[in-house]
Each structure stands twice: as C-alpha cells, then as structure tokens.
C-alpha cells in the first residue's frame, strides 16, 4: 500500500515536471494568442509595465485616464526596462515601458515593436554638498566615471577621494548617462545602486560622492547638481538640447495599438497631460521640446 502511494506520487511529480517544462517552453505562443483577443473595444484592460523611472508618471496618467474612461482598467507595474521590453515582445503586457530605445537593448526584436514617446527626462550629475565644485567639463566627468581621475583636487576641488556611485548595469538612467558622457568607454567598477531614491540618499550621506540623478530627484538638501561646462541642468536647457543628458520615456506596443491601449497612449500625448501632469512630476513635456532625437543619437530641430 505504502509503496503504491509512493509510486503514485512519484508518477504525478514526474508528469507535472514534464508539464511545467512543456508550458515554459510554449509560453511565448500561448501568451501572444491571448493578447490578440484582448482590448478591441474602448472598454478593456491595459497592462503597462517596465521602467521604474516612468512608473510614477504612468500611474498618475493612468488614474486620470480611468476617471475619464470608467470602462478601462489600466494597470501600471515596475520591473525595469528590460522586463518591460521582453514582456511586451512576448505579448504578456500591452505596453512595455522603457527608458531606452528598443534598438539599444540586446535581445529585443525592435522591428516588431512600435515606439510611443510619452515624455522627456533630464539627467544631471550630482555630488555631495561638501564637494566645492559647481561645474565640470564633459571630459572631466568622463575621466571621473572611467576611473582616470580619483581625487577632487585634480578637477579643482579640495584634496578628497572621489566616491563614484553608479546605477545598476542595464539601468536606463545609466545607459543614457553613459551614452552621452562616456563615448563608448567602460565605466569604472564601483558601487552600484538600483534606484534614484537610494542614489540620492547615498550621495547625500557620503562625503566626496558623485553620481547622476533624474531631474525630479535633484531638489534635496545635501546634494548639489553640477553644471556641465557652465550649462545649468534645467528644463529650458534640455528643450533646446544645450543640456545634452536627456532621454525619451518610451511606451512600446507590439504592432500598432488598438482599442483601450490606443486611447490611453493618445491621452498620454495630449496637450492637457503634457502641460500639467508631466511637468508636475519633474518630467519635460514633449510639446515643449524644440528638438527631436533618434535612436542613433542624432538631434534635429523640430
């Protein structure tokens, strides 16, 4: 009797394992099937997930969109730009949020995805407020982040060790910063943190620390945003590209959006949203931008 039970359990476990493997291998096909059937009316459900930098904005816009369209449920989740792009590619989310162009992310078939730019985010280098420097050149900044300069006295400050704090490899903010500042060189291996909030806290408490933050996080005691060759990091300098470190926030869909997803994306780019919610949360509205930039980094006047 006992042996029989053990045998049954063993058999079931083996079968279940087989099923688990089979379904995980077939995930892609089944997921994409289910997504094509959803969101064909104005009512429906939209799942928007990915970039944590875009998350607070997307949540605000989603809630005001749902007030106007009670038939639609928009769910916003974090998870990171990589998760956003991969889940929208395999169809498990309607919208994938990303800080970077899909073309720049390895492992994503960008040709299948449609880009919807929804906002612009500016990024500025920040230092602990004990650092007596207010401006750096791009070359100095690059030498600091590649480890060539390790003491503040080499860039005109006091004799103090530079503590570099990076964002995690693959983070959208880091990708934007490195693309604009490092010119293809590799950053020095240094302390890495996984969110704007933690970076802000650590720069604030660590003497000699340098890192970079989205504009929304600059307004805080104990940290100081640096000028880049005497250009001040602010909204109007980003709008005409005199401040170079900025990026679009993207919402990717698989193919052209339909139904509720389409309505939501259209609502996101209306003047109403771009002029109110977007600047309120520290992002820059698309309508205010005087230039555009493509995935290869080429900037053109609007």
């Amino acid at each position: 009797m006992n042996k029989k039970i053990v045998g049954i359990i063993g058999g079931i476990v083996v079968i279940a394992a087989g099923i688990a493997l089979y379904t995980s291998a077939n995930n892609k096909s089944s997921d994409s099937k289910s997504s094509t059937t959803s969101s064909s009316k104005v009512t429906g459900k939209v799942l928007s997930l990915g970039s944590t930098a875009l998350q607070p904005l997307a949540e605000q816009v989603a809630s005001s969109f749902q007030d106007k369209n009670p038939g639609v449920t928009v769910t916003v989740q974090g998870g990171g730009s990589g998760a956003g792009l991969s889940q929208v590619s395999d169809g498990s989310a309607q919208i994938g949020n990303s800080d970077v162009f899909a073309e720049e992310k390895e492992g994503v078939d960008a040709s299948k995805l449609v880009d919807h730019k929804v906002a612009v985010v500016g990024i500025a280098p920040v230092v602990n407020s004990d650092v007596q420097i207010s401006s750096l050149t791009k070359t100095q900044l690059r030498d600091i982040f590649t480890g060539k300069i390790t003491n503040w006295k080499d860039v005109g400050g006091k004799d103090e060790k530079i503590v570099v704090i990076n964002r995690a490899t693959g983070s959208g903010t880091r990708a934007v910063f490195e693309k604009n500042i490092l010119d293809g060189q590799n950053a020095v291996q240094a302390t890495e943190q996984d969110s704007n909030g933690t970076v802000q806290k650590i720069v604030k408490t660590t003497p000699g620390a340098i890192s970079y933050l989205a504009f929304a996080y600059l307004d805080s005691d104990g940290i100081k945003a640096l000028n880049l060759s005497d250009v001040h990091p602010n909204k109007s300098n980003v709008e005409d590209n005199s401040w170079p470190i900025w990026a679009y926030e993207h919402m990717y869909t698989k193919g052209n959006p339909t139904g509720a997803t389409k309505a939501f994306l259209q609502y996101f780019t209306t003047k109403e949203v771009q002029k109110t919610i977007v600047p309120k949360l520290g992002y820059i509205g698309l309508t205010d931008m005087k230039v555009t930039r493509d995935s290869s980094g080429k900037v053109t006047d609007k």
Binding site: I9, G82, A83, L85, T169, E192
Partner: protein, 307 residues
C-alpha cells in the same frame, strides 16, 4: 441479521473520514512536490542555457574575476561573466556573520536555559521572537542609516562593504541561531545535568563538559541554518554592501554578493538574452548552495543520532 450484514459490508463513517484525510494530505504533499520540482526545473533550464546556448565556459564563469555581462572581451569574443567576486562575497559575509553570531547565540541560549530560566523565558524569549519577525528591509535600512556611516567614520572608505554586510547579517541570523540552540539545550536530558552535578561538577563544568558536548550536533545544525539564511538574504545585504562586482580586497571596500547582483540586474535585462541567462545561473548557484546547506544539516543530524 440483514442489518448487521449490511453494516459490515458498507464502508463505515470512520473509513470515509480516514480516506478523506488521506486524500487531503496527499494532495497537499503532491502540490508542494510539484512546486519544488517546477522551481528546480525552471531555474536549471534557464541557468544552464548560459553554458549550452550562449557557450560560456564553466571555468570562466566560476573562476573569472571580471563581471560585466554587457561588455564583450575583445580577446575572447565572450562577455565578461566571471562570477568569482560575487561567490567570494557571498561566502565571506556568510561565514563572517556566522563566526560573529555563534558565540553570542550560544551565550544567550545558555543564559536562557541554564542560568536564568525564569527571566530567560519571560524577557529573552519574546525579544528573540521579535527579532525573528522583523522584515529584512528594516534591517537593511537601519544598516544604511546607522551601520554604514559608523563604519565610514572609523575607517577611511565609503562605509559600504563586507564589514557592514557582516554586521547587518549578524543581527539578522542571531535570533535564528539562538532560538534553535535554546531548543537543543532544552532537549538535553535532565539526568545529564543531575549526574554531572552529583559527581561534584561546578555549574560551569557541567555546562562546558556535558551539556554543550551533548548538544553539539544541534548547535551545528543551528549554525548551518543561520548560514543558509545569511547566504540567501538579498535586500538587507544589497543596501549596505555597495554592490561593486570587484574582488574584495578588504573588509571596507565595496563588494557584492550573488543575491545583490541578481536582484539589481533581473529587471534590467531581457528574458532570453545572455545578460539574463547569467543571472539565472547565479540563481542556480544559490539554489544548489541551499541544497548543500540542507544536506549538511541532515548529515549532522544523522551523525548526532548515532551517538
């Protein structure tokens, strides 16, 4: 007569209940079994694809010292995926935390069971239980706001590093080791103590020569459990260790652990890419290590039982 035959032939109420109970517990067992097998299958299939699909050399992965999966080494045409810094980091914080925590845990447990039983039960027991229940993010936050600045003021570095991680983990695993040691000490038979005292041993001699010796397997199990917890802890360690994938050169330079690299990277990578696969391989190492910890515990239990 007929009635009795009928009763004997039919399944009784108790048999039905018995069957019902067996079905319920069997279902629960199968469900758990399926979950465990599914987790193993998933992590292994993802983790091994680093070696089979992406063609990374196992030796390069385990013993390489440069971790930067998004950058390709121009010499070998392979990305830098040396996981040794994280493996070393994980083991260092785990062993150091266990080494620091064990004496405190044994001391506390002895106080609670042998020296001041009443106060131990009244005051220490609730405190230990409270410590077990504190979420790890709280430990991490305290580590970030108290431990890291403290280390920074007494050493020259940034305060992030193995030492801060050790201190935070020490506090986290202390209650685990303590409460398990208390249980072990309590299970030492009363006549061991009585015989020791009867042949003229002092209380210290009794504790040192008899009780601790008898409880050694149990205490070892407690330490291994504490280490398993330390090895798998992600959030609290990630907040204080600095997360720099460098070979640790000192206790106060930023380092990283398997878990901290895993939690930081997983959302930023795309499923199926090499950058994602190597993270699954790190998860596989973690899973195998927890298996090893479990085997050690069982081996200790078996050896202890033979005595």
């Amino acid at each position: 007569m007929d009635n009795i035959t009928k009763k004997l032939m039919q399944r009784s109420e108790s048999t039905r209940k018995d069957t019902f109970g067996r079905v319920v517990s069997l279902t629960a067992l199968i469900l758990i079994g399926v979950v465990v097998v599914a987790i193993f299958a998933f992590v292994l299939s993802r983790g091994l694809s680093t070696f089979f699909k992406d063609g990374v050399n196992v030796k390069d992965f385990l013993f390489g010292t440069t971790w930067n999966p998004s950058v390709t080494n121009p010499a070998t045409k392979q990305p830098y995926v040396g996981a040794l810094p994280m493996i070393i980091g994980s083991f260092l914080v785990t062993f150091l935390a266990a080494i620091v925590a064990t004496p405190f845990a044994i001391g506390t447990a002895l106080f609670m069971t042998e020296i001041a039983q009443k106060r131990g039960a009244k005051i220490m027991q609730p405190i230990i239980e409270l410590l077990v229940g504190i979420p790890s993010v709280v430990y991490g936050f305290i580590g970030l706001t108290v431990v890291v600045p403290f280390i920074r003021t007494i050493t020259s570095g940034s305060g992030f590093g193995i030492l801060s991680g050790t201190i935070v983990l020490f506090v986290m695993i202390l209650p685990t080791i303590t409460s398990m040691t208390v249980d072990t000490l309590k299970s030492v038979p009363r006549y061991y103590r009585e015989s020791a005292l009867a042949i003229g041993a002092t209380r210290w001699q009794m504790i040192y020569k008899v009780i601790l010796r008898a409880a050694t397997p149990g205490i070892m199990t407690a330490i291994v459990f504490g280490m398993a917890r330390a090895f798998g802890e992600a959030l609290a360690v990630q907040m204080v260790i600095g997360n720099a994938a460098l070979m640790p050169t000192g206790l106060t330079t930023p380092a990283s652990t398997l878990t901290s690299v895993l939690t930081m990277g997983i959302g930023n990578t795309v499923m199926g890419s090499l950058q994602n696969d190597v993270l699954w391989t790190l998860a596989m190492i973690l899973l195998l290590m927890s298996l090893v910890f479990n085997l050690i515990v069982r081996a200790i239990g078996r050896r202890g039982a033979m005595k």
